[in-house]
């Protein structure tokens, strides 16, 4: 089967889920069953694309002209394929979890919820397979708009306020800054295609490169680079499955994915390294990493703490791009997958605690680990992966980023990454420690986990965190084309 057909199917099936949710809105089991089937099918299609293309970059296929000279076009390249695999695979897991959570928590408007979810995943596939910046931008905005109803789901004044912040920052940055950057790129380079090595070299020079990079970096609001990170904590008013899949995986990863795409395929890492245009971005990312970690420590609400942790972790990927070394970019790419697995585990655990024990504040979770051992165990594994300790997946991406920083001769960045790990320990492990080692009569009692569909998915993703530790080399090999060289020169993890 044609790759382009498969790409279109990968986008059509999640969109179809939106339709079936609308049609069968009154029969929950049928509705959720069909969605699950479509989710599995989507994942299988992406796997099929992988089995056909491997880590080759295919030729773009244009469907129609959005603007003269800029078609709506798709292709497959390693970074996008990895993102699509992660997002579609975790959609299956999250859908199962979502069924458990939404029913266990008696949420309303479930059909609308899962329908918007489908559209969001469909646009994520569009982002992952877009072969030029305008196509990517189109789906980027669809993703923002389709997740807005999810954030506003509860319809309470608080949810409306949160959704308003969410929308105004994401739409505001993308229209005011990113669009300007894209049009400017078009005027300068005469093309918007993603090409390895970039399209801007020779068309622009001097400080303008840094300005243009700045328009992109801040314009990609989904990457939550400070000071445009407020939308992410605001989005936490959404039901937990949204926070889990969209605000730990799909939406935020779409942001940093776009960031990497811009760095690798629009500017080109060599061009960035030559001009030094991304150096300021590196410092800002470093600031974002540390500042968000410190803010995270002050949050007592578990989801808010995780949100700030995400802000910090996303800047790792931005940092990887800004280092403008091949190791940095590979580390960033790998971190998309590793952080996704780790953070989705943490969010699903947070949801399981809310459904099982009705607790959302960390200070109320004392002793809860003994009541919900599997949930807290999964949380521990996810936390360790985020911190970057072996034998968990997160350690490899952090390792590559450190190598990348060393390659770039930025010793201070190595220190930043180290300090960040310590801060991660400081804000994540006390939650687990409090759960297991302290006791509170209010939370005493026999083991009582949340419903099966609430604790099994995080347990599964926690196991994945462990498993990917042993496959990290393969993933890096897979990504190696984006760093501009073959697998044999990727030292350290291939063995």
């Amino acid at each position: 089967m044609n790759v382009i057909d498969l790409i279109l199917y990968a986008m059509a099936f999640p969109a179809l889920a939106a339709v079936t949710n609308g049609i069968f809105r009154n029969s929950p089991n049928l509705r959720d069953g069909i969605t699950l089937a479509l989710a599995v099918l989507t994942f299988l299609i992406v796997v099929t694309i992988y089995s056909i293309t491997g880590n080759e970059t295919t030729e773009p296929v244009a469907l129609l002209d959005m603007l003269p000279g800029v078609p709506l076009a798709f292709n497959v390249e390693p970074l996008g394929l990895l993102f699509a695999l992660v997002a579609s695979g975790l959609w299956v897991v999250t859908h199962l979890y979502g069924i458990g959570y939404m029913r266990g928590h008696h949420e309303g408007h479930q059909a609308r919820f899962f329908a918007c979810f489908g559209i969001a995943i469909s646009s994520v596939m569009g982002i992952a397979f877009a072969s030029n910046m305008l196509t990517l931008f189109l789906f980027y905005e669809v993703l923002t708009l389709s997740t807005y109803p999810l954030v506003a789901h509860h319809g309470t004044p608080e949810a409306i306020r949160g959704a308003r912040i969410y929308l105004s920052i994401l739409i505001g940055t993308s229209i005011a800054l990113q669009l300007t950057a894209i049009v400017w790129t078009w005027v300068l380079a005469g093309t918007l295609d993603f090409r390895l090595g970039g399209i801007l070299e020779g068309h622009v020079a001097g400080p303008i490169v840094a300005v243009l990079l700045g328009l992109y970096a801040f314009g990609i609001g989904k990457a939550a680079l400070m000071p445009f990170h407020r939308w992410l904590p605001a989005a936490m008013v959404a039901p937990t499955p949204v926070s889990a899949l969209l605000h730990a995986v799909a939406v935020v990863k779409a942001g940093v994915f776009t960031m990497l795409k811009v760095g690798v395929y629009i500017f080109g890492i060599d061009f960035l390294a030559q001009t030094g245009a991304s150096e300021w971005l590196m410092w800002l990312a470093a600031f974002s990493i540390l500042a968000a970690s410190i803010v995270a420590m002050t949050k007592d609400n578990l989801k808010a703490r995780l949100a700030y942790s995400t802000v910090s972790q996303l800047s790792y990927i931005t940092l990887g791009m800004a280092l403008a070394t091949s190791m940095g970019v590979l580390g960033g790419g790998l971190h998309i997958a590793m952080h996704a697995l780790g953070k989705i585990t943490l969010f699903m655990c947070a949801g399981a605690i809310l459904v099982g024990a009705h607790k959302s504040e960390i200070s109320q979770m004392t002793g809860l680990g003994r009541v919900m051992p599997i949930t807290f165990g999964a949380f521990l594994i996810g936390a360790l992966s985020i911190i970057g300790l072996p034998p968990l997946g997160g350690s490899w991406s952090k390792w590559l980023l450190i190598v990348g920083a060393a390659d770039a001769g930025q010793q201070i960045m190595i220190a930043v990454l180290m300090i960040s790990s310590l801060l991660n320990i400081a804000y994540l492990l006390p939650i687990v420690g409090r759960g297991f080692f302290l006791s509170d009569p209010a939370n005493a009692g026999p083991v009582k986990e949340a419903p099966f569909l609430c604790w099994a998915p995080p347990a599964f993703t926690a196991a994945c965190c462990l498993a990917v530790f042993f496959y990290a080399g393969d993933i890096v090999d897979f990504l190696s084309p984006i760093a501009g060289h073959g697998p044999e020169t990727v030292a350290g993890v291939s063995e």
Binding site: L134, L167, S168, V183, W184
Partner: protein, 523 residues
């Protein structure tokens, strides 16, 4: 020079398309009044006339979309003495928009007019509507400067009447129409004074002929004064920012169908006239004109983008909010014009079209909401998203297009406009454009939240199918022209090139219609 091939003098229908474009709605107008009472018949005639006009405009556009023009001589009298209709990509595109919007608005009007206008007035309403429609087509199609004025008055006078028809629902429509009458008449007077000055200096009224005779004397004070009068006169009709005062009330109190039609067409036609005079009558290199645009129109355009958007945010009536948004959007069109380069003009042309269909969706949506909720105040339409899911969803699509979210027609306009500003090297202007569209996010999201995130104020049914279908066709057009720009951008680019190449000169006398490629026709 005539075309080499022996032109078929036989009066085939095809050759008569330019005049049929106009004659069909013109003849339908009195017919509607004569058949009168049977309301369904009046509507049907109006609709069929509009549909025929749409088909004709599509055929005309197909002939000129790749360049060149058609010249049609009324009664076989050769210009400059006879009146000439001249169709190129610029006005064919506009004809297509006007007749397309009319054809979509009329089915919507069926229920809307029934609800908003007293039965005894309905036949007269359709008569005036058709006259207005025909007048707008006439302004657009003609190649004769005085003819522009005549058709402008036909459309304006009937516009005052159909705005006043809103009085059956809200008496304030009368003062709104009166305001517009006064301002519109001042505008038309200014315009005709400008024409008078031109006639005094050149002794001709054919646009091609005018251009040839103005070119050698652009330093002449009288010519410059004529230009100033024409710009101000049209400025009133366009509702350029400080001359916009008639617009909010006229749009707010007019019947819903009228607002939908006028917002999508009337100001667009006035912008077209300004374009035509600026480029085809006065030459693009005319220094006085360049200063006028750069120093006067450009600042006001930017001011409109911000001030009108800002005012729109604080409105409590959705219809009025959209009226202010129209004033802001006119700013974008004038901004593209002020850039005076090919992509700027293409931006203006494509925005004329894209904003036309966007506003058509939104104002028809408002009409449907008004039908069910009684008024378009935010307080009475809150929560209607649940009661009227189809209408509300289409309005969200229209709203997104107004913001310029990718995948909608509005995005294309904004893209081309920003690109034009960059090409000109005016990057602060480019930044102001995107910045002002953030204000659009605010006012659009205000009604989206009102429709969806509040408890419904009342129980209501979905709008009737005759409303929902045209609304959705237009909404889908907003999406379609946002992802496939084959027709719109080709037409806009051809139009921009046509305009920038200046006048196509006086057409050679030839029987009835002659199709001339652009190159051969220029002297």
């Amino acid at each position: 020079m005539a075309t080499e091939s022996v032109h078929d003098v036989a009066l085939t229908l095809h050759d008569q398309l330019p005049i049929l474009q106009l004659v069909v709605p013109f003849l339908a107008a009195p017919l509607v009044m004569v058949v009168g009472a049977g309301r369904g018949v009046a509507w049907l005639i109006a609709f069929l006339a509009s549909l025929a006009a749409f088909a004709i405009s599509a055929l005309l556009l197909a002939q000129v979309i790749d360049g060149g023009f058609l010249s049609y001589q009324i009664g076989g009298w050769a210009p400059p003495l006879g009146i000439e209709y001249r169709i190129d990509a610029v006005n064919a595109f506009l004809l297509f928009l006007i007749s397309g919007v009319s054809t979509l608005v009329l089915p919507f009007a069926y229920e809307s007019v029934k609800a908003e206008i007293a039965e005894r007035n309905q036949a007269l309403f359709y008569t005036c509507y058709l006259l207005c429609f025909a007048g707008l087509l006439g302004v657009t199609i003609t190649g004769d400067a005085f003819n522009v004025f005549v058709f402008l008055e036909i459309s304006s006078l009937s516009t005052y009447a159909i705005i006043a028809a809103g009085a059956d629902r809200d008496r304030r429509a009368l003062t709104a129409a009166y305001d517009y009458l006064v301002m519109g008449t001042i505008g038309a007077t200014f315009f005709v004074i400008g024409l008078g000055l031109l006639y005094m200096m050149t002794g001709t009224l054919n646009m091609g002929d005018l251009a040839d005779r103005i070119a050698p004397q652009t330093d002449n004070r009288t010519i410059q004064a004529a230009f100033a009068f024409i710009v101000v006169g049209m400025g009133l009709k366009i509702a350029i920012y400080p001359l916009h005062l008639w617009l909010p009330n006229a749009y707010t109190y007019a019947p819903s169908a009228v607002t939908a039609f006028l917002a999508a067409t009337a100001t667009k036609v006035a912008v077209y006239v300004l374009l035509r005079f600026s480029f085809s009558v006065f030459s693009p290199g005319f220094a006085f004109e360049n200063y006028t645009y750069e120093l006067i129109i450009l600042p006001f355009a930017i001011l409109a983008m911000f001030a009108a958007s800002f005012i729109a945010i604080f409105q409590t009536d959705l219809k009025r909010m959209l009226a202010y948004s129209s004033i802001a959007q006119i700013g974008y069109m004038l901004l593209g014009l002020s850039l005076m380069n090919a992509s700027g003009l293409a931006a203006t042309m494509v925005h004329l079209f894209n904003h036309g269909i966007t506003k058509a969706v939104l104002f028809m949506g408002v009409g449907a909401l008004t039908l069910r909720a009684g008024s378009s105040f935010y307080a009475s339409i809150r929560g209607m998203g649940r009661a009227m899911p189809l209408t509300a969803a289409a309005m969200v699509v229209g709203g997104l297009s107004l913001i310029g979210v990718p995948g909608t027609a509005g995005f294309i306009s904004k893209w081309v406009l920003v690109q034009a500003a960059f090409e000109k090297g005016w990057w602060p202007v480019a930044f102001l454009i995107v910045l002002s569209s953030l204000l659009a996010v605010v006012y659009v999201w205000r009604f989206v939240e009102t429709l969806y995130l509040h408890e419904p104020a009342r129980d209501a049914a979905e709008a009737p199918l005759t409303m929902v279908v045209p609304i959705w066709i237009t909404a889908l057009a907003c999406v379609w022209f946002g992802i496939n720009t084959d027709i719109t951008m080709t037409a806009a680019n051809t139009a921009a090139e046509t305009l920038l190449s200046g006048s196509t000169g006086l057409a050679e006398p030839s029987p009835w219609t002659s199709a001339l490629p652009a190159g051969e026709a220029s002297h």
